[in-house]
Symmetry: C2
Subunit: 362 residues, 2 copies
């Protein structure tokens, strides 16, 4: 059973950097109930890869990607709040993206999809709210790429939300993470099976996707965690099988196993578009500077959580957000965590995150 709901946009949906989508679909899931005042909604924008299935529900009891965070009496308490998680526009889990059919051509968009921006992902979220007749939000929450989407939402629809939660994100992408993402895209695009984006559905550029995922996994965690977790352990049986460069160390075997698991699910073209959308985001485009951009954010209370071992959105970017938003007159709570799990901490170090989020919402 699937808890996914969809809004079909009526007409031409304008894209931030030009072009339109005809009648696009925006997928989402919800938990809890809207109150009579229609002001208890929390909307969640996701990182690059998750679907809208952030938590289980009667309609779909499978665990969601943020199962520990969302539910009755959990930090994002579905007894009190109406929680919406949106599958990003451009993704491939129900929302329109490069893997969808373009109704104007009756062909899959592929690389004819217009340039995707996180502003478009935010607009799609706004359409979901309009469809549900919600004009006021209790909070917007965004981890990672979703944090940048949340910032876009805040500057595009100022005053809609009382609160804002940003996790492991930044006011814009910086060259280290852009270089990593550029290389991930290159791995996919150089896979002979990519065929300039025209791969058949049953023959996607798997090798490129797996390597891109491995690089993601390497940079989503931290060197220190891996030191403690794998050390220099060898694989129990020699999986190399005569190959002088086969898998020998546990850490290699771990990457291979998890990369294989991931890459059956995510459409390569969608990955490319969302990856580039992350690179393109810069709050300074909504003002002359980062500070001027952040000054448009009107949420009264803001929680910022960063992790000191994060490679992709380093801790100084969390500080930059906290400083800019404080200067703009917002009430900011800034937490810098020592979690070992790097960028992924918000997904795994729940013992650190639960109490902070609970307190912010209580």
């Amino acid at each position: 059973m699937n808890a996914r709901q969809v809004v079909v946009y009526d007409g031409e949906f304008p894209m931030h950097r030009g072009g339109t989508l005809l009648n696009p679909t925006f997928a989402y899931e919800t938990w809890g109930a809207l109150n009579a005042a229609r002001d208890n909604t929390i909307i969640i924008f996701t990182g690059l890869s998750p679907s809208a299935h952030a938590a289980s529900s009667p309609k779909d009891p499978t665990p969601g990607w943020w199962e520990d965070m969302i539910g009755p009496h959990k930090p994002i308490d579905t007894h009190r709040y109406f929680v919406i998680c949106v599958n990003s526009l451009g993704s491939c889990f129900g929302s329109t993206g490069p893997a969808s059919m373009d109704p104007r051509t009756n062909e899959i968009y592929r690389l004819n999809f217009p340039v995707l921006s996180l502003e478009d992902v935010a607009s799609a979220g706004r359409e979901v709210l309009r469809h549900l007749d919600i004009e006021h939000l209790y909070a917007v929450i965004g981890p990672s790429m979703g944090g940048m989407t949340s910032l876009a939402f805040e500057v595009m629809y100022p005053g809609m939300s009382e609160r804002l939660v940003l996790m492991s994100t930044g006011p814009r992408s910086m060259p280290f993470s852009m270089a990593l993402r550029s290389l991930q895209r290159e791995m996919i695009r150089r896979d002979p099976d990519f065929k300039d984006g025209n791969y058949p559905p049953h023959h996607v550029p798997l090798a490129g996707m797996r390597m891109a995922r491995k690089l993601g996994m390497i940079t989503y965690r931290s060197a220190e965690e891996w030191r403690l977790r794998f050390g220099r352990e060898r694989t129990p049986t020699d999986q190399a099988g005569g190959d002088p460069f086969g898998l020998v160390f546990e850490v290699e075997s771990y990457l291979e196993h998890h990369a294989k698991k991931f890459t059956g699910q995510f459409d390569p073209n969608c990955y490319l578009y969302l990856s580039r959308a992350s690179d393109l985001f810069d709050i300074a485009e909504h003002g002359a500077t980062v500070e001027a951009g952040l000054a448009h954010v009107q949420a009264e209370k803001i929680l910022i959580i960063g992790v000191k071992t994060d490679f992709l959105f380093p801790i100084y970017q969390q500080q930059e957000l906290a400083d800019g938003l404080t200067k703009a007159g917002r009430q900011v709570e800034y937490v810098a965590l020592d979690s070992l799990q790097g960028h992924d901490s918000f997904l795994v170090d729940m013992d650190s995150y639960r109490p902070i989020v609970s307190k912010f919402f209580s």
Copy 2:
């Protein structure tokens, strides 16, 4: 003109992890002159990619990879010391490696080259010294992979050297850098032009090599340096040319340019062997533990320089070396630098390195 000299080993050169090489060649360059006591030699083991051409000389006036460090009145003063730099066994700049002809088969070794260890690279250095009739060293110097080779040399030939300089290295490879190297190898091996190592010399797996080099460049420097250097600058002319995922940002263009420059020079099979040799190195194999391994080092005075922004050999590994060698009774000077240039600092932040090395050798 080439300043390269070679030693041809007479007979079967035994490899640390099994197998032998028949009549291998060890390439090296020298600067300065051996004194009458034959005790003023400094031997340098290199990182993964450099040749033995560490500095210019009358025979080869082109600048070397450590030009600022080696020469008359420079920190490694060729008026005082006889300096030898060895091209690593397994490399492709004069020393025997996977790109060399196997005299037993009259075919290029390729993946039939035996497993390469840094212990073998150290042994080859020992053979160069034997050939030059040098039984006593003033110092052994090794940055990066060369630091691990230097440690191997120290434990295999204890007491030969008075001093030891280790830069941006560690007592063994840890899973974060091993994962990165494993992925670099995969990029090369999955390039269709790799052909299981049997690529023709004019058609090497260039795309894979370039991606591996890009990942190297990303991890050799630091996020902070790139932030200051590139920010979010775009390329002056749009190099994308209609390609939705072409080069847009300066950082992408920089990587592309430098990766292209590198990959004409280095043989892919040699790269794979040296990369794996780095993974395999563990001083604990020369004792039950890292500490026991380090206890075999007998150089009296040791200089250890590390950089706080180094991803590949993080600063804690420098501390681990300093602690272990101090505990073993060695006289250790440990410097932790704030250089922005990450792992590559020893090649570029010369204003920080010169005075430290000068002082150690004066």
